[in-house]
């Protein structure tokens, strides 16, 4: 019994350590606007917008691939204006803002 618990804990610890170390080497610079937009989207991950999940739609919005927030069919109207206002006013890492319509 105790061997099972201990061995599982040790294996989990080793794998977690490997993942933690590789996370340090495999860091990706994330545009903070993408996370903000993702927080404002309904997060249904329905794919109705044509993008892979809400994360895909959020990055497409920030990168300018899509300019209508209304492409998300699940979003409510005031959320759409909120996202549009946020993106139109917040500059990205290179200083430019994205122009979107609700």
């Amino acid at each position: 019994m105790i061997q099972a618990v201990l061995s599982l804990a040790i294996i989990g610890g080793i794998l977690g350590a490997i993942l933690g170390i590789s996370d340090m080497y495999l860091k990706v610079e994330n545009d903070p606007r993408v996370d903000q937009v993702m927080g404002m989207l309904p997060n249904a991950n329905c794919g109705g917008c044509g993008f892979p999940g809400c994360a895909g739609f959020a990055s497409a919005l920030v990168e300018g691939e899509v300019s209508k927030v209304g492409t998300c069919v699940v979003c409510s109207a005031d959320k759409k204006t909120e996202i549009a206002e946020y993106l139109n006013s917040t500059p990205g890492p290179d200083g430019t803002t994205v122009k979107v319509t609700a």
Binding site: Q3, A4, S7, I11, L15, I18, D23, P52, A55, G56
Partner: protein, 190 residues
């Protein structure tokens, strides 16, 4: 020679998708586009190969000596989940386009029954280490072959003259069934 027979048996004759009906979720989910399908095949090959090696070693060097072989399911899932997380991080850093194209199906490799299936089969079929490695290569190569062929067929079906009621998912499922017929034709060879 026996290893070659094992390879053919696991990759083609007892194909994991079309004969054993595991891993059907990525088959239908990632096969809209043949490049995505190929990338999914590569990711699954990497995960299954490494996972079958690690789980085999874990079972025979840790679980059996300590007489806790009943923990195999939990520890295998732990190993597979960490491997998939590592692949995700690696892909996000090295090629964000592939990462975005695969979307949610990349973490779903964790729940892909083929991965756990190969890991558990290596134990129950009492393979030695070399046979486990061959199984870890043969099964995902069979999977990649099937998903790539299926994706190319689906790309053709997009522009083909399909009756309106069958467009999209229905004709894709019928195609998968016909492919399973074809695979059943060589059943029992090895």
């Amino acid at each position: 020679m026996e290893l070659f027979g094992l390879f053919i048996s696991l990759a083609l004759v007892n194909n994991v998708v079309l004969n054993r009906f595991l891993a059907v979720c990525p088959l239908l989910g990632v096969s809209k586009n043949s490049k995505n399908a190929l990338n999914m095949g590569y990711a699954v090959t990497f995960v299954i190969f490494i996972a079958s090696i690690i789980t085999y070693l874990l079972y025979h060097q840790v679980l059996k000596p300590l007489k806790i072989t009943y923990m195999d399911l939990i520890t295998f899932i732990l190993v597979i989940a960490s491997l998939v997380q590592f692949v995700e991080m690696f892909l996000k850093k090295t090629s964000p386009e592939i990462y975005k194209a695969m979307g949610v199906y990349l973490p779903l490799i964790t729940t892909n029954c083929a991965v756990l299936g190969v890991a558990l089969d290596n134990i129950s079929s009492k393979y030695n280490f070399v046979e486990a490695m061959v199984a870890g290569l043969a099964v995902p190569i069979g999977f990649t072959l099937v998903i790539y062929i299926f994706a190319t067929i689906r790309e053709r079906l997009e522009i083909a003259d399909v009756p309106a009621a069958f467009k999209g998912a229905p004709i894709a499922l019928i195609t998968a069934g016909i492919m399973a017929f074809a695979m059943a034709g060589i059943a029992g060879i090895v």
